[in-house]
Amino acid sequence: MKYFFITLLLFLGTPFMSTAAELSFAVPEVVSGKPITVTVLLDTESESINSAEVVLSIPEGLLLSGYTQTTGAIAIWISKPHIAADGTIEFSGIIPGGVERLYDPENPQKRAIPLVNLDFVPTETMIEGEFRVIRSRILKNDGMGTSITTQSIPRFVSFKTNPTSTYRTGDETPPEPFTISIIESTFFARTPRLALFATTDAGSGVKEYKIKKGFGRYVIATSPYALPLTLWGSTLSMQAVDYEGNVREASIAIPGNRYLQGVVIGGMLFVGYFLYTYQRKRKKQV
């Protein structure tokens, strides 16, 4: 009788159990001398989702060489695909408005959305191992950031290839032209003045951005980049560098901060007034 009720409860409960979203990998046939592009797929089970944070491990002998920005659903990156300190690959981003499924007219049953295409180069002759999701967070598009249950399917690969540490795509086109935007801040605001920048590179992907203030040296930067308050204006120069070393430059004139100028000028006015008053007093005394 006890088992009957347990079975009945399980039977009745089944239709109300939420189905889990599924993360998986698509690995095309490996062609020697070409990068290995791995697509991270997400089947949301028709749930609208708007944020994803994924950490994954890859087979030994593969090195992340880039990602294709224009063929994934993640519209805005919080953290672009990169190699973490422990050797895992991490990325996170958002899709404003949310997304539910893929629309493929030839394969309408395919619903899994490509989140990102990751490019790898082999550094060993024999590659054998698994692409595996270590942890992930997928959030619903419900205005509350509710997590959805996610399971993952690892993908085993085994192939021989020609190792190369520097894969050449033959891309000679620099990243797309881009502009730098400035979000101004106030003297007392806790969020500093920020420089925003973003571009794409269809050939090999944007590897990094470099920034230079005035006559300084270029340093690697990420958007948003915090700019200190300065009294005087200067020029902010930027370089977007793709994985083949092609460079696209942009610059913007940054004015001096008006609040800081106001403080300095206020101070000068005060000193001027003090000196003027002091001078008059002295004249009267004389």
Binding site: I94, V99, E106, N141, M268
Partner: protein
């Protein structure tokens, strides 16, 4: 010992004059907006509608692309974006029907939203689409949920609140209040696609999430936060009550995302970026921002 001549006073005066000129000079930032999105707009049926491909040949001058069709609101403007950048817009007819063709050859994430005749925007609708050379992908049956706005952010208990927006005519719709208690109201949509409903709020005090939807649809408009309390506050009097709108321009967009991104994983963030008030900036805050994103 300070001794000042007329010359020294002239010098001080000149410095002060320069300072005044300096501060009165306008501050120009020659920056352009990177990307902008529109607001929200959601179809009721699009997730389950068949997708047809007219294989072989072209459609007009387009060799391959996508046709989006469906219903927005009478005379509404439907905007199509690719990678969050506008690529096309079309005006719906008097019945709210629209159809737009966009050429495309490779995989693409398209985003659609509708703007009613009063400038209110729908929620965003995203379509990740695979394209095939020589084929036109047809995505039909799109229906945007109604737009919605209220005259007050906070309303005194039993006082009057007005909810208005754009919607399709002849399709029953409802306005839902969800908070300490739930209640629904049924507005009437005029022939020009507008609805407006003023009623006394007979709800217990607290914060309510208010949305509009068609009765035969599970998807809803953007969500408004309305507080039922002891005083009235007009929406026009408020700076902003949109979660994540850190520069208080009534838009949740890339600027707000960037401010949030600056505080990501940093201690003690400002209240405006901490959208769920848990004193840390993590993926949940970004998710809430993405939900309220309106360009």
């Amino acid at each position: 010992m300070f001794i000042f001549s007329k010359h020294s006073l002239v010098v001080v005066g000149t410095i002060l004059l320069c300072a005044v000129l300096l501060i009165s000079t306008p501050n120009h930032v020659e920056a352009l907006t990177i990307t902008q999105t529109g607001d929200t707009g959601i179809s009721a049926q699009v997730g389950t509608l068949p997708i047809l491909t007219t294989g072989g040949g072209s459609y007009g001058n387009i060799q391959s692309g996508v046709r989006f069709s469906g219903f927005a609101y009478p005379r509404a403007t439907v905007t199509v974006m690719k990678n969050l950048t506008e690529v096309s817009r079309v005006v719906a007819d008097v019945n709210g029907a629209f159809s737009v063709i966009v050429p495309e050859e490779s995989w693409q994430l398209f985003t659609l939203f509708a703007t009613d005749t009063s400038g209110r925007k729908s929620t965003l609708l995203n379509f990740p689409i695979v394209f095939y050379s020589g084929a036109l992908t047809d995505i039909n049956g799109i229906r945007f949920a109604p737009t919605i706005i209220s005259d007050k952010l906070s309303v005194k208990q039993s006082d009057y609140l007005t909810i208005l927006g754009g919607a399709l005519t002849r399709i029953p719709m409802e306005i839902l209040f969800d908070g300490n208690e739930s209640k629904s109201y049924t507005p009437v949509v005029t022939s020009d696609g507008e609805y407006s409903m003023t009623f006394p709020v007979q709800l217990s005090q607290g914060e309510y999430l208010v949305k509009a939807r068609y009765v035969d649809d599970t998807r809803s408009s953007r969500v408004l936060r309305v507080i039922v309390g002891t005083a009235n506050m007009l929406r026009s009097e408020a700076t902003s009550n949109k979660p994540g709108d850190c520069n208080f321009d009534q838009n949740v967009n890339l600027v707000d995302f960037s401010i949030l991104a600056y505080w990501y994983n940093k201690q003690n963030p400002p209240v405006c970026v901490d959208t769920n008030r848990d004193k840390k900036i993590d993926l949940i805050d970004f998710s809430i921002l993405a939900f309220y994103w309106n360009g």
